[in-house]
């Protein structure tokens, strides 16, 4: 492994994994506590339409995917704000239509189609240095926005009715959050692929939620867990010659089940000592 670290592409891969982990920890926390996991999944899958669009028009991957992700996030924001009770069905429609459009556009694209599997399951080993700079910039922007609006996001996530009463711009923050989810999705697709985006956005925050006492701590813990899963998963995939994205997710899943077992043990121990868990 240490010789492997000498190689540029390995170092790039690890750097990409860590950058993605930080963004996932912060955005994933907001996604989980606001219960918009399904919506985030919809944005991720609709992004496939963006990949198709980029191929069809000969655009760079980032341009097509960002445009379509932001568009679908905008539509979903409008739908969930206007018709809350039917929002899940609409998200399902956008989810499927985005993917279908992507497939058809790729059919219509002339010439050689690049390795599509790499967009479905990630291609952390082929991340170029130029992408790292984009990721770092995006990560910094997300951190700055979330830091600046931290109290407002906290109020909206915990009790949006009370937040509205205090004149917190809940609608604006909600749209801002979906926009950040869209940008995060574009970035995460690089590392674990769009099929597995939801896992990396949800598993670390879901584990962290039960062991942390504040939203801030949950974001930090999620980021650290995400780093751990990404690095361990990447190392395993390298050592055993497996697909990196899928390995990272399985490591995260293993962490998830371990955390459940650990919590049960703790609760049982607590019950034995006569203390509430």
């Amino acid at each position: 492994m240490w010789e492997a670290l000498q190689a540029d592409f390995i170092r790039n891969a690890l750097a990409a994994g860590i950058l993605v982990s930080i963004v996932c920890g912060v955005i994933g926390t907001l996604v989980v506590v606001n219960r918009i996991v399904f919506l985030a999944g919809g944005i991720a899958h609709a992004a496939y339409g963006g990949i198709g669009l980029a191929f069809f028009l000969g655009w760079p991957y980032v341009a097509g995917t960002t445009a379509v992700s932001l568009l679908s996030a905008g539509v979903m924001a409008a739908v969930t704000l206007k018709a809350r009770h039917r929002a899940d069905a609409m998200v399902g429609v956008i989810w499927a239509v985005g993917m279908a459009v992507g497939v058809i556009l790729l059919d219509l694209s002339p010439g050689y189609n690049a390795d599509l599997m790499s967009y479905l399951f990630g291609s952390i080993l082929t991340v170029p240095a130029s992408d790292l700079w984009q990721m770092a910039l995006l990560g910094a922007a997300v951190l700055a926005v979330v830091t600046w609006y931290y109290n407002d996001f906290l109020a909206m996530s915990y009790d949006d009715e009370f937040a509205r009463l205090r004149n917190v711009p809940v609608t604006f923050l909600y749209c801002l959050l979906l926009g950040m989810v869209a940008l995060a999705v574009v970035m995460i697709i690089r590392v674990v692929g769009l099929i597995l985006v939801i896992a990396l956005l949800t598993i670390p925050p879901f584990i962290a939620e039960r062991f942390t006492g504040s939203l801030r701590a949950m974001m930090i813990a999620s980021s650290l867990l995400s780093c751990l899963f990404t690095v361990v998963g990447f190392w395993l995939s390298y050592a055993m010659n497996l697909t990196s994205g899928a390995t990272i997710i399985l490591v995260a899943a293993a962490g998830f089940f371990l955390s459940i077992l650990w919590e049960r043990r703790r609760r049982r121990a607590g019950a034995r000592d006569g203390k509430p868990a």
């Binding site: 609006y149 109020a155 009463l165 917190v168 939203l215 701590a217």
Partner: protein, 253 residues
């Protein structure tokens, strides 16, 4: 009579095409302790939400201190019906209360010293300061209710709106809770909504019954007619044996 601080004029509200509030008029003087009672689905919570500015009326006007409610949000304290909302959320009691000091869009995630002192004072007033570092999900219903009232009080409101505040409080701590409300009422106007007529055992100053239409009485007494009007079916008046309240007898008794 003191100056009126809440004015509701010819208010109509409908939800999914069904009229919930019909031509409601109400004025609440400063220092009042108004209880709005009525059957479930009668529009109590809706009226409260319209008065706080959370809902916009279809027709009619609501003014609080002469302004639309959202413009005077800093004078309004609101305690929601469901205190168990989001009970798995990773947040400590103190941070929930600090939410009541929020100045939106101010940025930078730090609360000032004054904010923290106000939060401590509110938690102490509600006798839940000892739970400040607990996670919100670890508290009982009654403790949560007190924390949510502290959150409403921390912004030093002039009006306190309570939606079914008694729902989460067990029977034997109710008396103490009403005492707290009476104490608060010395400095704050209280508007409480309840389907539980037990609340009338506190020092209520006026009562309104609502079931689409509103009947307002500027006294803490409640009559059988008011209840019949509001519930459209006979409801027995129950006296609770609380010495400071005597319910008016039915006219023909």
């Amino acid at each position: 009579m003191a100056e009126s601080i809440i004015e509701v004029r010819n208010l109509w509200f409908s939800f999914n095409g069904e009229t919930v509030l019909r031509d409601v008029n109400l004025s609440v003087p400063e220092g009042d302790f108004l209880v709005v009672i009525g059957p479930n689905g009668g529009g109590k919570t809706t009226l409260l939400k319209v008065m706080t500015g959370l809902l916009r009326p279809d027709r009619g006007t609501v003014s609080v201190f002469g302004e639309p409610p959202h413009k005077v949000a800093h004078h309004i304290g609101y305690v929601p019906q469901n205190v168990h909302v989001n009970s798995t959320f990773p947040i400590a009691v103190l941070d929930v209360v600090l939410m009541g000091r929020l100045r939106p869009g101010r940025g930078w995630p730090r609360h000032s010293r004054q904010d923290r002192m106000a939060a401590q004072a509110a938690l102490e007033q509600m006798q839940v300061w000892e739970y400040r570092d607990r996670r919100i999900g670890e508290l009982s219903g009654g403790q949560l209710q007190r924390v949510f009232i502290a959150r409403a009080l921390v912004g030093k409101p002039r009006i306190l709106f309570l939606d079914e505040a008694m729902a989460s409080i067990d029977a034997h701590s109710r008396g103490e809770f009403y005492e707290t409300l009476n104490e608060l009422n010395r400095t704050v106007t209280i508007v409480a909504v309840s389907h539980d007529m037990m609340i009338l055992s506190s020092q209520v100053k006026s009562v309104a019954c609502i079931n689409r239409d509103l009947h307002h009485h500027n006294s803490g007494n409640i009559t059988q007619e008011m209840l019949d009007d509001a519930y459209h079916c006979p409801v027995d008046l129950v006296a609770h044996g609380v010495p400071h309240r005597v319910l008016k007898l039915h006219e023909d008794q």
